[in-house]
C-alpha cells in the first residue's frame, strides 16, 4: 500500500503571545492515512472548536504542526522540494468553508477558473478552456452564461461556493479536502454538489476528506467517519456503525441533538446536559468528561486510547476498555475497505 497523504501523530497548539502558558490544543495526536491506490471518502465530523478546520489546514500544509508531521508521498510537507510542492498543489485540492474570503473582489469570478487552467496548462486553446470551465460549472448546477463575467459580490454564497467546487474539480486532483463545502448552500443544491463530488470519486478515483458538522451529509457521502471532540478523536470507523449505533457518549449526544427532518418528533424536552457555554479547564483526562453523564474517576486521570470495539469501529472511551486498544496510527484498521461502497444511489 502506498500512501498519498498521511498525518502522523499531528498536534497543533495555538498560543497567543510569547509567554502564553495556556496554549489552546486545536488538534491532538491525530493520525490519518489516505491511500493512493484505493480511493476513499472519509468524513471528519465535529462541532466548532473540535479542530476540524485546523486539520484541513494541516493536511494542506497551510499551517505547520506543533508536533508530528504531514507527509505527501512520504515527504514532509514542511520540508519539500519545489517540484514536489507543485505536484502536491495539483494532486490535493481544497474547498474551503467560507466562499467569500477566497475571492479577490476586484476580479471577476472567471479569474479563479482561468488561472488554474493557465498555470497547469489544462487546455490547449481558449475554446477548449471555455468548454472545460463550462463543463465543471454545469456539474455543480451553475449556468455558465449567468456565472461567468460576474463579480463575487453579484453571486450568492451558495453560487460562490459552487464555483469553488467547480474549481477543485477542474484540476482533476487525487484528493479533495473539503471543509464544510455545503454548509452555505441550500438543501436542494446540497445534494447536487455532494453528488458531483461523489461522482468524481467513483468515476475518476478521487479521494475525499469531507470535513463537516453535519452528520446527515457525512453519513450520505462517506464510507468511514472520524468524530472529533475538542481536538481528539472520540470515535472512528464504518459510517453505518457510528451513525446507526453510536458508542461514545459524545457521539450519542450529537446524534440525539440533530433535528431530524421527518414526521417523527425525536427531540425530547430535556437534553440531559446542563453545561452551557464556558469551556471547562484543560485536564489530563478525557476531554468530554466534564459533560459526560457516565464519567467516572479514571476518565479524569488519563485520556482513554482508542478501543477496537468492532471490526470496523474504534472508540476512545473507558466504557469499552475490555476491547483491545489501538495505537492512534492504527486507526485505519477500524476503517472499512472501499469494496463496501454501494454505487447505485440516486444522488
Amino acid at each position: 500500500m502506498t500512501t498519498l497523504l498521511e498525518a502522523r501523530h499531528v498536534t497543533k497548539l495555538f498560543s497567543s503571545g510569547l509567554l502564553d502558558r495556556h496554549a489552546t490544543v486545536a488538534l491532538e495526536d491525530f493520525s490519518l492515512v489516505i491511500d493512493s491506490e484505493r480511493p476513499s471518502i472519509t468524513a471528519v465530523v465535529g462541532e466548532s472548536g473540535s479542530g476540524k478546520t485546523t486539520l484541513a489546514r494541516l493536511l494542506l500544509g497551510l499551517v505547520a504542526p506543533t508536533r508530528g508531521e504531514v507527509l505527501y508521498q512520504g515527504q514532509d510537507l514542511q520540508n519539500m522540494s519545489h517540484t514536489t510542492w507543485r505536484a502536491f498543489r495539483r494532486d490535493v485540492q481544497v474547498i474551503f468553508q467560507d466562499p467569500y474570503e477566497v475571492y479577490n473582489p476586484f476580479y471577476r469570478v472567471d479569474h479563479v477558473l482561468t488561472t488554474p487552467v493557465a498555470k497547469f496548462k489544462l487546455a490547449s486553446s481558449k475554446a477548449a478552456a471555455r468548454a472545460l470551465i463550462a463543463e465543471v460549472l454545469q456539474a455543480v448546477g451553475l449556468r455558465p452564461e449567468e456565472t461567468l463575467g460576474r463579480f463575487p459580490h453579484q453571486l450568492s454564497g451558495g453560487q460562490r461556493q459552487r464555483v469553488m467546487v467547480a474549481r477543485a474539480l477542474l484540476l482533476r486532483p487525487r484528493l479533495i479536502v473539503a471543509d464544510e463545502p455545503v454548509s452555505m448552500v441550500d438543501a436542494s443544491l446540497r445534494a447536487t454538489i455532494l453528488g458531483a463530488l461523489r461522482t468524481m470519486h467513483l468515476e475518476r478515483g478521487i479521494s475525499l476528506v469531507y470535513i463537516t458538522h453535519d452528520l446527515a451529509t457525512a453519513y450520505q457521502i462517506s464510507d468511514n467517519i472520524v468524530v472529533l471532540y475538542r481536538g481528539s478523536v472520540v470515535e472512528a470507523g464504518d459510517v453505518e456503525l457510528v451513525v446507526k449505533q453510536p458508542h461514545h457518549p459524545y457521539t450519542q449526544l450529537l446524534m440525539s441533538s440533530i433535528p431530524l427532518a421527518s414526521a417523527e418528533r425525536t427531540w425530547t424536552t430535556d437534553s440531559g446536559t446542563s453545561t452551557m457555554g464556558l469551556q471547562a479547564a484543560e485536564s489530563a483526562g478525557c476531554k468530554f468528561a466534564d459533560r459526560c453523564l457516565r464519567a467516572t474517576s479514571p476518565c479524569l486521570q488519563a485520556a482513554p486510547p482508542l478501543f477496537h470495539t468492532d471490526r470496523y469501529r474504534a472508540v476512545s472511551c473507558y466504557l469499552y476498555q475490555s476491547a483491545p486498544a489501538l495505537a492512534v496510527t492504527e486507526m485505519g484498521k477500524a476503517f472499512t475497505g472501499p469494496a463496501k461502497l454501494s454505487h447505485g444511489d440516486g444522488m
Binding site: 458538522h213 433535528p259 431530524l260 425525536t266 446536559t273 452551557m276 444511489d345
Partner: protein, 318 residues
C-alpha cells in the same frame, strides 16, 4: 376555534434596483393563531427573511412594502406612525434576529442592553428593580446572573443567542418572530436554545414564527409550516403532513432533497435553479423545474387554496 393573533393579508414587497423593481414577497397571506408555532421555510432568495422583516416594518431600502395589511390584535401595523410602530415592536411583536453575534452592541454590558430595551418602551423602574428584572430575564433564558455584567465578546454563541432571546421576551410580546435564530450554533447548543425558546413560548403563551431553511429544525419545532418559493407561499400545512404527504411538487422535491440518517443514497437534488426574481416565469413560478407541469402551468398562476382540511397549496394539479 382560536382566533388569529396575527393576520398577513396580500403583502407585496419590492426591492428597488436600477433595473426596476424586483418582487421579493409576492402577494402573501396567512394567519397565525395565538400560541401557535408557525414555520416559514424556503431557500435563500425565497423571500422568507424579507417577509419577516416586512411584518415588523424593519425592512430597509431598497426594500419597499408596496401593498398589503398586517393585522395584530385589530390594528393594521401598516397604518401606524413610525413612533407607534416602534412602541408595538418588542412590546407586542418581537424579533429574535439572525446572527446574534452582530445584533448585540459590543461595547455595552448585557444588563445595559436589557435595561435599554425596557426604558425605551416606557418601563420606569428604580435601579434596583431594573437589576432584579435583568436577573429574572437572564434566569428565564437559562443564563447565570454574572452574565449581566459581561460584554458580548465574553459570551459563547449560544449564550449570546440566549441574551438576544432575553431582550426579545423582556416585554412579554404576543408574537415572536425568530429569523434563523440558531443558524450559527452547533447542533447540541442549537437544541438547548430551541428548548429554551419552546419553554418561554409556553410560559408567555406567545405565538412564534420561525423563519429558516433547516427543514429538520422545522420538523422538530413548529406546528404548521409554510413553504416559500420565489417570493410566494406555495404551501401551508400541518408540519406532519409536510413530511408525510406534501402537496406541492416543490415541497415534495424539497423533502426528497434532505439527507436522511436512516438510509443511504436517499436524497436527490432539485434540477435547475430558482428563477431570477427580476424575470419570474409566467404562470406558476415553479413550472420550469416541475416534473409534472402541464400547459396550463405555463400561462395561468395557480390559486392558493385549501386542498385538504388545514392544508393549503398553490398548484393546478391538486
Amino acid at each position: 376555534m382560536t382566533l388569529d393573533v396575527l393576520r398577513v393579508h396580500d403583502l407585496l414587497v419590492y426591492y428597488d434596483t436600477p433595473a426596476g423593481a424586483v418582487t421579493a414577497v409576492n402577494h402573501i397571506s396567512f394567519g397565525l393563531k395565538a400560541g401557535e408555532r408557525l414555520g416559514l421555510a424556503g431557500e435563500s432568495g425565497s423571500g422568507k427573511s424579507t417577509l419577516a422583516l416586512s411584518i415588523l416594518r424593519l425592512l430597509k431600502p431598497p426594500g419597499r412594502i408596496a401593498a398589503g395589511e398586517v393585522w395584530l390584535d385589530g390594528v393594521n401595523l401598516m397604518t401606524l406612525s413610525e413612533e407607534d410602530m416602534r412602541q408595538v415592536r418588542l412590546a407586542r411583536i418581537a424579533l429574535i434576529p439572525q446572527g446574534s453575534m452582530n445584533s448585540l452592541n459590543p461595547v455595552m454590558r448585557i444588563k445595559e442592553q436589557l435595561a435599554d430595551a425596557l426604558q425605551d418602551h416606557g418601563v420606569r423602574l428604580s435601579k434596583r428593580d431594573v437589576a432584579e428584572r435583568v436577573r429574572d430575564l437572564l434566569q428565564w433564558v437559562g443564563l447565570r446572573p454574572e452574565v449581566a455584567d459581561m460584554f458580548p465578546h465574553e459570551l459563547s454563541g449560544g449564550m449570546k443567542q440566549r441574551a438576544c432571546i432575553a431582550i426579545a421576551i423582556s416585554l412579554r410580546p404576543q408574537v415572536i418572530i425568530a429569523d434563523e435564530p440558531t443558524s450559527a450554533l452547533d447542533v447540541v447548543v442549537q437544541k438547548q436554545v430551541m428548548e429554551t425558546l419552546a419553554r418561554l413560548q409556553k410560559d408567555l403563551q406567545a405565538a412564534v414564527i420561525l423563519v429558516g431553511h433547516d427543514m429538520g429544525l422545522m420538523a422538530q419545532f413548529v406546528d404548521r409550516l409554510g413553504v416559500m418559493y420565489a417570493g410566494q407561499l406555495v404551501e401551508v400545512s400541518p408540519v406532519r403532513d409536510i413530511f408525510t404527504q406534501p402537496l406541492h411538487p416543490y415541497t415534495q422535491m424539497l423533502i426528497a432533497s434532505l439527507p436522511s440518517l436512516e438510509q443511504k443514497g436517499t436524497f436527490r437534488g432539485i434540477p435547475g435553479l430558482p428563477p431570477p426574481l427580476r424575470t419570474l416565469p409566467p404562470g406558476c413560478v415553479f413550472h420550469p423545474r416541475c416534473p409534472h407541469a402541464v400547459e396550463r402551468c405555463q400561462t395561468e398562476a395557480p390559486l392558493f387554496r385549501e386542498v385538504r382540511p388545514h392544508a393549503w397549496a398553490a398548484c393546478h394539479l391538486l
